[in-house]
């Protein structure tokens, strides 16, 4: 694996640097899930599609928005994955009756409920922070999203064609 060494990051914007328009779009990333929540309950994938569409519309509007988009998307990806497993498992038990309500199932229900609850709470906090032009880092997803949104890639480094004569 390539050793990345010291990571370089674009300077992080302070609240006063973030225009209201950007703040609202960033907040929107978290609110997407509320809009799609009702539709997404039986089929968690629908949530995800709505978020993906939102992501592709706004992803090039600067690192502040991109960070919030990615953080929301990643956390939702994982939560939705867990919900899909839950729905699949439940349908197998109660509709096809090909398996039983086991202790593992009960444990998984607890995990899924907790995961959704945490996802819900942290998303609201993050949405409020985004509206204020601030950051809020989720565990794992926060650092991951920050890295992707703010790291300086070689392609981003400007080649200075024009030089001073001195």
């Amino acid at each position: 694996m390539k050793d990345l060494g010291e990571e370089k990051y674009v300077s992080i914007p302070q609240p006063e640097d973030v225009p209201v328009r950007e703040r609202e779009d960033a907040m929107g990333a978290y609110l997407m899930m509320f809009a799609a929540l009702a539709a997404g309950l039986p089929l968690p994938i629908i949530n995800l599609i709505a978020s993906l569409v939102y992501y592709f519309i706004h992803k090039d509007k600067g690192p502040f928005i991109k960070f919030h988009l990615l953080q929301s998307l990643y956390s939702q990806l994982i939560t939705s994955g867990m919900n899909v497993v839950f729905v699949f498992w439940t349908v197998r038990i109660f509709f096809f009756e090909s398996t039983m309500v086991t202790d593992y199932y009960k444990g998984y229900v607890a995990v899924v409920v907790l995961a959704n609850l945490l996802y819900f709470i942290f998303s609201i906090i993050a949405a409020v922070r985004a509206r204020q032009g601030r950051f809020f880092y989720f565990l794992v997803f926060g650092k991951w999203a920050f890295h992707q949104a703010f790291s300086i890639r070689n392609a981003d480094v400007k080649v200075h064609v024009n030089k001073t004569p001195f």
């Binding site: 990345l4 990571e7 096809f96 009756e97 090909s98 039983m100 309500v101 202790d103 593992y104 009960k106 444990g107 998984y108 229900v109 607890a110 995990v111 907790l114 995961a115 565990l139 794992v140 650092k143 991951w144 890295h147």
Partner: protein, 270 residues
């Protein structure tokens, strides 16, 4: 950067992993809390039921913790009878195709069942299912639902009047396990067969025969409460049998065994 994300990921996985483990473990405890019926009380009730039962029909002891008929040893050994929590198995002369678990975790096998099945593997499958009811405490569960604690205490204290007898016989004739319990017993039975390296096709064959003859496995506690053989029950047993690994047959001569049991049942009735 990677290190700190890795650390957080580990933290997150540990957190949710322990929630899963703890809840799974905890709900197992909950499922076993049907031990509210004290052990000695339950055993006394078992004796009482067997006493009552043997007054109206023949009961021949097949096995308990200190005795077993030699011809049954192969089946009992493969199904790990010693660890089944089952107190005793009895043979009873009755033309019905039936086997059931009584309160006290005594299993009664009708001679009609022995006559109906065509191999030791099929009989082992039925026994494995019954062991499932015993192991999963289904009778205790039923008892808990049916009786108030006080009536149980009355039995033990000898204060069991006619009312209680009535209640008990009512229980015997109407109580039936839930569909979930049946399924649980089926699953446990399949597991037990596989652990004994026995083909689960015996169970499939048995259920298919019931279906062919449009019979129901009346089973369960009362000879009068019938249990429908649901399509999904056959379905999951079929799925299981298809991927069955245990394929070795029982080391016994079924025809000899069948004849011996039917003779025994006929003789024991005199």
């Amino acid at each position: 950067m990677r290190k700190s994300i890795g650390r957080e990921l580990l933290l997150l996985l540990t957190f949710f992993g322990s929630i899963w483990a703890v809840v799974s473990y905890f709900s197992e405890d909950e499922a076993e809390d049907c031990d509210v019926i004290p052990e000695d009380l339950y055993d006394k009730l078992g004796d009482f039921v067997i006493d009552d039962f043997s007054q109206s029909s023949s009961l021949i002891l097949i096995a308990n913790d200190s005795f077993s008929l030699e011809s049954w040893n192969e089946i009992l050994h493969r199904l790990d009878f010693d660890n089944s929590n089952c107190r005793a198995i009895y043979l009873s002369r009755n033309p019905e195709v039936n086997a059931y678990t009584l309160p006290g975790d005594n299993i009664v096998v009708y001679s009609g069942l022995i006559e109906f099945v065509e191999s030791g593997e099929e009989l082992a499958a039925v026994m494995a299912h019954e062991f499932g009811h015993v192991k999963k405490g289904h009778v205790r569960e039923l008892l808990k639902e049916r009786f108030a604690m006080t009536s149980l205490i009355m039995i033990v204290s000898g204060d069991a009047g006619g009312n209680l007898l009535l209640e008990l016989s009512d229980f015997l004739f109407t109580a039936a396990f839930s569909r979930d319990n049946e399924k649980e017993a089926d699953y446990y039975g399949l597991e037990l067969l596989e652990r004994g390296n026995l083909s689960t096709r015996g169970m499939l064959r048995f259920f298919e025969k019931l279906e062919e003859e449009k019979m129901e496995m009346p089973e369960i506690i009362s000879a009068f409460s019938s249990h429908p053989l649901s399509a999904d029950r056959l379905e999951y047993i079929r799925t299981h049998a298809a991927k069955s690994v245990g394929d070795s047959l029982l080391n016994m001569n079924w025809n000899d065994f069948q004849k011996e049991m039917l003779d025994l049942a006929a003789h024991g009735d005199q």
